[in-house]
């Protein structure tokens, strides 16, 4: 199988003397056509990893290749072959959905004769075609998320990064996005890299997952392999076993203080 994303001791440190290790010597391989999930607690380094792989920020040390392009030397090529749905991206609220997608398409050099039809098709797919000329400031959070997903697809890249793709969506829209990701992987042959906290989605969509904590990759494999390794029954239990959690008896400790209930 062809490796399309390969990281080699990829690291990103912050602060004086690099005491904050956002990503620490990450070694990872993602194969062509695979849907890969990166899991981890808040602040584990998932978004930093995605930003590094999309050449948004530069690594402190190590490197990576995306579709055989070096993230340090071939930034423009890397950007052309990837689509990114960022965790908290900014939208141009004063543009209409059509104008925003037109802008994004132009940024990625989508030819004009293709762009118009593609925008229409994407808007139809997300059920927003009849609102194409409304300004984005009037869209709900879910609708904005759909537009952002559409913008990540606008140049039809072979590799897609989705950072929390369903976090703001209602169950129906989330299901649609889930199905879309499945089809992008199964039918269109895209390589998909997902970061998410929603474990059932990761469990259902991802061929393999990686669990990251404090910047270090601490588990890697298929979902059932990770469950088996941790001798647990579900991915949730496996995730807690690997990353740690609050013990049940500690949960109501705050009430034990005198007068706390008054």
């Amino acid at each position: 199988m062809k490796v399309v994303i390969r990281t080699d001791k990829l690291s990103k440190y912050y602060g004086k003397g690099g005491e904050i290790k956002a990503v620490d010597e990450l070694d990872l391989e993602v194969y062509e056509g695979e849907t890969f999930g990166l899991l981890g607690p808040n602040g584990a380094g998932k978004t930093t990893t995605v930003r590094l792989l999309n050449c948004i920020i530069k690594p402190t040390s190590g490197t990576a290749t995306v579709n055989s392009y070096d993230i340090l030397k071939e930034e423009t090529e890397v950007k052309r072959v990837t689509g990114l749905l960022a965790e908290s991206p900014g939208l141009y609220e004063k543009l209409s959905a059509y104008e925003f997608l037109e802008f994004m398409g132009a940024l990625y050099d989508v030819p004009n004769d293709v762009l118009s039809g593609r925008i229409d098709n994407l808007l139809k797919l997300f059920g927003l075609h009849d609102r194409r000329d409304y300004l984005l400031e009037g869209y709900s959070r879910g609708m904005k998320q759909k537009i952002l997903i559409a913008s990540a697809l606008i140049h039809d890249p072979p590799i897609l990064f989705f950072d929390e793709p369903t976090s703001m969506l209602d169950p129906r829209a989330a299901l649609m996005v889930k199905d879309l990701i499945k089809q992008l992987a199964d039918t269109a042959g895209k390589t998909i890299f997902i970061c998410s906290h929603i474990l059932p989605i990761v469990e259902e969509l991802c061929d393999r997952i990686g669990i990251i904590k404090q910047g270090r990759l601490i588990a890697l494999g298929a979902v059932n392999e990770i469950i088996a390794q941790t001798k647990t029954k579900t991915l949730e239990e496996a995730f807690i076993a690997i990353t740690g959690g609050v013990e049940e008896k500690e949960l109501l400790a705050w009430r034990e203080q005198k007068g706390a209930s008054s």
Partner: protein, 538 residues
Amino acid sequence: MPVRKWLVVAKNEYRLHTSSIRRIRPYFLYMVIVLLAVYVAFIAPAVVSPFIDDFLAFIITQAAVPMVQIILFMLFFYLIVFPISETLREVQTGQLEIFLAAPIKPSDVLLGEFLGVMPFYAIAITVITGSFTALLTPLGLDMVQIATIIIIFVITLLSAFWIGIVIAAILRTKLGKTARGKDVGRALAVVIVLPMIAVMYAILGGGLVEALVDPGTSGMVRAIFGVLPSSWGAEVFVSFASNPGNIGAVGFETLTRFGGLIAFFVAVLWLGAKAANRAYSLEPTTFIASRAKPDGVFYKTVRYLGGGRSFGTLLVSVFKDYSRRLENLSWVAYAVGLVAMLGIFFSDPSSGAEDPLVSLSELGIPLLAGFVVGTVSRGKTSFFMYMKSPSGVGKFVKARLFQGWLVTVPIAAVLVAVSTILVPQITLTSLVIFTIWGSLRTMAAVAFLLGLALVIPVFSEESRERTLGIVINLMIAVFATIGLDVGFSRLGLSFESILPNLDPLTGLLSDHLLQTAIFSFVGIVLLYLGKRKLSRIE
């Protein structure tokens, strides 16, 4: 061939700025061009014609060169500050990720952002240049001279605008990544205009023009401003005005100044493009999160003043939320700066205590109160906490009133005391009485403006809308004060006219105390209405 990326960004920027006029967008540029042509050809000459004689007399004086230098510097400074202030008001870096993930060079983004808003700045540049050209036309300048002056204005103002855009982009990326940085940005956006206001006040009321007629002062100002690129055009401007139709007489001077300006423009363009990489980055600037210190003497005193107990705690919380936002503190600094400048440039303490007193009561104190309590309705969601808790809205209004008094009264007392000390032969008793009066007046103004801000709430988190809300409330307060003053004097309702034996200053003070009582009453009514309104928001 793919479209040039800077053009894509420019088109997007233009669309964003014309979003509110989308229906007329296709004709907008043509309409603007026609209107500007009408302005330059007809309106500007008509507007400047009444001043032509004064201008012709002025242009041959000592003051001409430094005055044009100052005007050009102000325009230059304004065009630098405006994009910075606009950016800092709402520092947003969300869109940065879009650009950084796309195959586009930072310099293309910068150029695109510059060109996208260029049409709007071009309007300002054309109006300014058109007005100055209209002033010079009656002198009989030849076409080369007029064209040179137009180019000088355009290059000077474009350079300033480019510098402003570059600085704004760098500040946005530096400040936009942390909540503290955004707060610093909003605070800077408020106070950054103060130097310009100072120069404006100095020209209007500070006798700057008269001072520049003096050769010594004029020479000094000329030398200081002469080193700034904004001034290089001023000498050319005045030398053309002194030698109309005879460019040869000032050929060398024109060439050096004009050439210098062109070189400066090219240099700032090049440096800006080089700085673009710094302007677009998502690398965190700091990982140091702001930490709250344990309450010191100040907050312990505030808690005590709030009666201790739960209201004291609430008052301290409201006070902390207010004072930890640098934007709020910069509004206070802005108000104090304005009041100080009004005092320096427009007030004359030697004419007695009346002048500073009236100026403070009609403008200074409402300004201070308005800027401190004007943003009370900011962020609708936080009100629901108060609505949910027992008697929460009442507690909130009371806490904000106390907090407003705690911030404004000491500042107003100092301002009144300083203004009074400057009055010749003022007695200590008068000083104390005036200071107490100032404090009472401030308390009334805070109640009035807080009530007004609750009755006409601006829930928006957008700085521009909040500022507009503050300005509207301030206008109401200022006009109400002036109206009350004028109304009293028209109706002969002054203590001095009722009690003829009363000395004028005591009379004036008594009038002001009566007005303060009326304002307090209206303020209480507004606070009640505001509280009712706040309890019913959905």
